[in-house]
């Protein structure tokens, strides 16, 4: 097990190194000079040159890459060109919006998907099942930004139960914070819940057809008992895999929802960073997300190995 873990850790480190080189190269290649963006149409060439010098944009590509890499290893992600504060501070602030939002949406989508998937599988072929399948198909097809705007029109503009967007900060209290994240979380959760419910249904249907379920029924368990005690547990494996994937997606993929609700999250930070050519912010942020995804994969690998001893030998 230890050897397996070490080899996975080594491949994790190598992946990160390759990712950092690719990210740096791609982002530095984009046309557009951060200094001339910041100084605008009337700037004199000397002022632009002075700013480039201050931002450290004049060194060679390799020396800047190594400087960036070395900084990250020692926990220094650099200073944002435009905001002029440390990138780590910006990211930490934004993480406190994006992370709770992703968790909130994940909890909502799980809470919706589990019972819905269970009912559909239990009543397979019934009108209820067809109704649920149709509704989840619609849930996947509806673009979440459009659904988000619909939510805003109904609950913010007409009913005035919620703000149309924005985030008061956790300093304002837990409830106002959660309230501000509710509409965005619902908008994010709907398509995820639809996918999850369908996965849940097909996984359950598959396990319900297994021999051990027949055995369980034969020894006298009711259909309900067989489902909750045996089928549900075995159906969890594909469902948990999907939930894991959805979490990385929710963390990084909320760019559009964050714009619709003007939430100060990571997605909007990346978006702003790209348009303003705040290269250091974009590079560090993308690196961080890559790290998060690779780390989740690494943990999932370890978990698989813990569950399934055969994997340890093949590694």
């Amino acid at each position: 097990m230890l050897r397996y873990a070490l080899s996975r850790a080594l491949s994790l480190a190598l992946s990160l190194l390759v990712a950092s080189a690719v990210i740096f190269a791609v982002i530095e290649v984009i046309p557009g000079d951060p200094a001339s963006y910041m100084l605008g149409l009337n700037a004199t060439p000397e002022a632009v040159a002075a700013l480039r010098d201050q931002l450290g944009l004049d060194g060679s590509l390799l020396s800047r890459y190594l400087h960036w890499l070395g900084g990250m290893l020692s926990g220094d992600f650099g200073t944002s060109y435009t905001y002029k504060v440390p990138v780590s501070e910006l990211v930490a602030q934004r993480l406190w919006v994006s992370l709770p939002l992703a968790l909130y949406a994940l909890v909502l989508s799980t809470l919706i998907a589990f019972p819905v998937g269970l009912i559909a599988a239990a009543r397979r072929g019934s009108v209820t099942d067809y109704g649920i399948m149709g509704a989840t198909q619609l849930g996947i097809a509806v673009p979440n930004f459009w659904f988000a705007m619909l939510l805003v029109l109904v609950f913010a503009v007409n009913l005035r139960w919620f703000s149309a967007g924005g985030f008061p900060g956790w300093d304002a209290g837990l409830l106002p914070g959660l309230k501000a994240l509710t509409l965005p979380a619902v908008a994010l959760a709907l398509p995820q819940a639809s996918i999850l419910a369908r996965v849940m249904r097909s996984a359950l249907i598959e396990t319900l057809g297994q021999d051990y379920i027949r055995t369980a029924r034969a020894k006298g368990l009711s259909r309900r008992q067989a489902t909750t005690r045996h089928a549900l547990r075995n159906a969890m494996i594909p469902v948990l895999t999907i939930i894991g994937l959805q979490f990385s997606f929710l963390l990084a993929g909320a760019i559009i929802i964050e714009n619709v609700f003007f939430l100060p999250g990571l997605g909007r930070l990346i978006f702003q960073g790209i348009t303003q050519r705040d290269l250091i912010v974009v590079e560090s942020l993308v690196m961080l997300l890559v790290f998060a995804v690779i780390l989740v994969t690494f943990l999932v690998d370890l978990a698989y190995a813990a569950v399934d001893p055969r994997l340890r030998r093949t590694a």
Binding site: N42, V152, F261
Partner: protein, 487 residues
Amino acid sequence: MKQLTLAAVLALTANAAVAQQDTITLGMVLEPPNLDPTGGAAAAIDEVVYANIFEGLTRFGPDGSVRPALARSWEVSDDGTVYTFHLNEGVTFHDGTTMDAEDVVFSLDRARAEDSTNAQKALFAGIASVEAVDPLTVKVTLAEPNGNFPFNMAWGDAVIVAPESIETDATSPVGTGPFTFVEWVKGDHVTIARNDAYWGDAPALAQATFKFISDPNAAFAAMMAGDVDAFPNFPAPETLSQFEADPRFTVIVGSTEGETILAMNNKQPPLDDIRVREAIAHAINRQEIIDGAMFGFGTPIGTHFAPHNPDYIDLTGLSAYDPDASKALIAEVGGVGPLRLMLPPPTYARRGGEIIAAQLRAVGIETEITNLEWAQWLEQVFKGKDFDLTIVSHTEPADINIYARPDYYFQYDNRYFRMVIDELAVTSDPAARRALNHVAETIIAKDYVNGYLFQLAKTGVANAKIRGLWENAPTQANDLTGVSWAE
């Protein structure tokens, strides 16, 4: 006793209901990258700090006039090269330090220094020396007379900062203005509060919050839901009629300093031929662009000058919509090949560009449209001059002098025009300045340097009870000093 308490509670709540509202939330499309107006060009910086947190020697009024600010008065020497500014007494920065002549010397010297990153460094280029005569008197000596100097000092880029706080002004600005900085939740809002130690008249508002909402639909929803009290530059003009019909809101339409032009690369064949540029000018139907791209908001212009400026002359006749004249000119030069039309992100450019492409096709000029991000546009068009046509709004006030820079991106090179601008720079008599401005406006209109489209309108939405917001935008600012709520 119980009844008494109830009465007291009722009285209290009644009082609270009657009490004047003294906080405001303003919507802004773009978040400022930082809050130091002397170190960046972003208009969003000035939209938060100008006249609210930072003040200069002079300032712009709502009508664009230059007014006293930190300098209560000033004199010019007879030869026009020495300006003596008399500062207001008892002015302090928000950190409690005194604002005196030394701070003015520091600010101006810093802006014109060799390593200065001031986005409008040219404003300070003519300064030969700045000295503090006494704590309340500053003498600025210019290399040449400059009638525009008090105007230059009114820009947001020329505000007075303190050496004690300049290092942190980008994130936590310290100025002399009627509001102090409270907090900046990055990506969400900036809050400022009334400065009780302000040297001038105290503002009516106790607190103001600038909320950053870039998505037009989100801006609409935020106004309708009452999350935002006013949106001075509202990004969804197509919904303005809805706000007009709603008694809760007022729609504020004013003018800006933004001359929106179809810029042409004057050194790039075939645009180096004045007949081609004239043909393009006559192919453009301005009203169609204003109606189609700007929902009817905007004033046609015939030269690079703001129509609300008293020195403006209407030269739209020189480039009137005349497709036949256009076709005749194109036939004369033997046809014009496809031109590259580069469009930056704003709506006026993207929507306007498509309309212009159709108008040019009608007279036989094909265009190839490329959409660019701002950073790409700056690199390729503005710096690299690798374009034929582009659309951009020049939002700096009184900026006709950009035509005197032969290396500017549209590469107009006319020695006679430069002489007029040089003369203008050293003239302070209003009548003489007006005559020179008229000459300058006419030269560039007759040379068909660019296609002059329209003056960008400022369209805002506000709660109907708010008083005192600027209608026009002589500079990009949200001056809150005169803003209050009606009963």
